[in-house]
């Protein structure tokens, strides 16, 4: 009688899948339901955006930055704008900075709404996803009035923003924030505090603070592990020092510090903080121009600069090298999702297949940001 062969299955959670956030591929070595390893395979969405920058010039690259991470495009706009301003020593007028912060924080709200909704959909609850998207549609309507587009905004320019706030927009934005705060509580009652959701998310894939720093995680992923690092507070830029807001940290109250539930709740709490920043910004907007004078033929002096922006996915780094011509020599974006892919292989050992989906959703990876 031959011995029973038990070997592990190799599954392919392919580029086409309903629940990887974008075009990602995982090669899963599984023993039944429990995984030995999940090896990510990225690159399906590579579009050579960084190379394109060398062709289109400084002003022309701004719409391309939207496509680096189309879910939170304002931050990439801001990063590029700040990098060019640092190269050419341009100062953005105060009202322009306020417009930037308002647009960015609305985008953070929209991005986090999408993330928490996707978490719901990935673990089987379709309803929270649609509720979150409904709220996100309202933000999209607001931003459409502000800059004319709903997803790839191209709102900011080198030296400020392209449009000032339209009349009546401030009241609408404040009315929306009044509408949103109870909806976040309702969302929590429906989904976040639900026992099944807590059971699915708590104690799944905890990341210790040391691991998070070693693997270069940023943003809510890092803060969920207890590391207090937020670029808006630690390396302040723009007018963020003028606002009063907190940086939520993961505390492991549902399980272990740095587990999926912590990462998920970070985003809910950051939404509340963004709402706070927005109210302060909208009430205190100064008068003045929103765009500094910048020549059409933008030729910054030769040199390099490095900028960090706190995007919805974390600390986004921009590195621009200029050689004095109208076209940049090298542009590089360092995004939080790319780093997060690195830790998936380590964390997936011992997880169940159902937990892999939770892990990806809690790390908030967005495929275009990984591959650019």
């Amino acid at each position: 009688m031959s011995t029973l062969r038990t070997e592990e299955m190799t599954l392919n959670m392919g580029p086409q899948h309903p629940s990887t956030h974008g075009v990602l591929r995982f090669v899963i070595k599984a023993d039944g339901e429990v995984m030995r390893e999940a090896i990510p395979d990225v690159g399906y969405l590579h579009r050579s955006i960084e190379k394109i920058a060398e062709k289109v010039g400084y002003h022309g690259f701004m719409p391309y930055t939207d496509r680096v991470d189309y879910v939170c495009a304002m931050f990439t706009n801001q990063g590029w704008g700040m990098a060019c301003e640092k190269l050419a020593n341009i100062e953005v007028p105060r009202r322009g900075e306020y417009c930037r912060v308002i647009a960015a924080e609305f985008n953070r709200l929209a991005s986090h709404l999408l993330t928490v909704g996707l978490m719901g959909m990935d673990i089987g609850a379709m309803t929270p996803f649609l509720h979150a998207l409904r709220e996100r549609e309202m933000i999209n309507d607001l931003i459409e009035e502000l800059c004319g587009a709903r997803l790839t905004f191209n709102y900011m320019r080198i030296g400020g923003v392209a449009w000032d706030l339209p009349p009546g927009w401030r009241e609408k934005a404040l009315a929306y924030l009044d509408h949103l705060d109870p909806i976040i509580n309702e969302f929590n009652s429906l989904f976040s505090y639900n026992k099944i959701c807590v059971e699915r998310l708590a104690k799944v894939a905890p990341i210790s603070a040391e691991d998070a720093i070693n693997y270069n995680l940023v943003g809510p992923n890092l803060r969920a592990s207890g590391v207090n690092w937020d670029v808006r507070k630690n390396i302040p830029y723009s007018v963020y020092p003028e606002f009063d807001f907190e940086v939520p940290l993961g505390s492991g109250e549902w399980g272990i510090v740095g587990d999926a539930m912590d990462r998920y709740m970070m985003r809910i709490r950051e939404m509340v903080q963004s709402s706070r920043i927005l109210r302060q910004a909208l009430k205190r907007m100064p008068e003045g121009p929103v765009l500094a004078k910048v020549v059409r033929n933008f030729k910054p002096p030769a040199g390099e600069c490095q900028i960090r922006v706190e995007s919805a996915r974390g600390d986004q780094g921009w590195y621009v090298v200029s050689d004095g011509t109208a076209f940049p020599w090298r542009v590089h974006v360092r995004t939080g999702s790319f780093a997060a892919m690195g830790i998936i292989q380590k964390l997936s050992r011992g997880l169940m297949i159902a937990d892999l989906v939770v892990l990806i959703a809690s790390l908030d990876v967005i495929a275009p940001e990984i591959d650019r």
Partner: protein, 396 residues
Amino acid sequence: MQKWIDSLIARGDFGPHPSHDLVYAIAIAVACALVLFLVAVPFASVVTWVERRVWARIQSRIGPNRVGPNGFLQWLADGIKHVCKEDVIPEEADARLFKLAPYLVVLAFILPWAVMPFSSALILADLNIGILYMTAITALTVVGVLMAGWASNNKWSLIGGIRSAAQIISYEIPAGLSIFPVVLMTGTLSMQGIIRAQGWEPNHWFMFANPFCFVATIILFVSSLAENNRTPFDLPEAESELVAGFATEYSSMRYLFFFMAEWGNMFIAAAIIATLFLGGWQFPRVSASAVVMNALQFITFNLKVLILVFVSMWIRGTLPRVRIDQMMSLCWKYFVPISFVDLIGTAVWVAIWPDGNPIAGWVMLAFGGAVAVLFAWRVTYFTRLARMELYFHPTI
């Protein structure tokens, strides 16, 4: 019905010397066909439309509303589309088992209709093992699902099939254990017998007869959700993980068979609960005419079943999915012990009060009413919190 057919034979409608067995067999076949085509299959089809509309309203959107009045013929359009699709069988799949699996699952959906007590006179066969028959037949689904998952030659389908087998088999136990308190109280397994032992007033339903039966109702409801692969237990067809689980490789009508069986099973599970715990077709005696009474009882039964089906759709729109190990621990660590406690508690209760305790009925009904009032308050709290526009048109 037998008397009616006998009178027809005596009148000579079937010829001078018909074989009684043949006439009865044909009559039964016709009756089965009537039940299936007038009730079972239309229900399984129309409920897809209802589910999509209910689901959509929960999600702040409108469901299908284009095909037919208010989208009522959406199921017909879907069915025709599926029939016209290409029937794909994977190359390495075991073709015979692959094709047989949907039929087994549909068999498990069709056979229990024989003992469905629509009213006091409308039941195809009042078997004296009625409820046992139903429970046994619905367990046939496991064979079909496992066959589908394995024969698909697809590792994801295999995982889905195995999950489903584990799930259905495990949840048979709390379901069966929750049926026993009722059997203890009535002493019979026949569907009509159980319904006749209850009254039409809510406090005479078995759900409110004693606190153990109240809990047993809830356990039975959740277990039947698990048996039907409904959220929160829809791991076998977990859309986000396994695309469609055991049914991934199926296309066109075979695929639809699986899901028609799932939705049809919802009716059957709801019928079991309505019969055992909610008083079945019981209706106060308002008329002497048997036809009127039967019609009212038919409506009552269907109403109770449809309300339970609505609740299961509502749960599907609310809750996320549990993981396989959590589902197992839920069944074995929570449901099975609680059902045992129910069983023993009911046994003690029946020993103390063999004829039931009317006060307990009122107390439990009051408790149930209090829960309902609390729920309604919570609903108004959330509605006022969100400050969104109210809208009471159910058909838009």
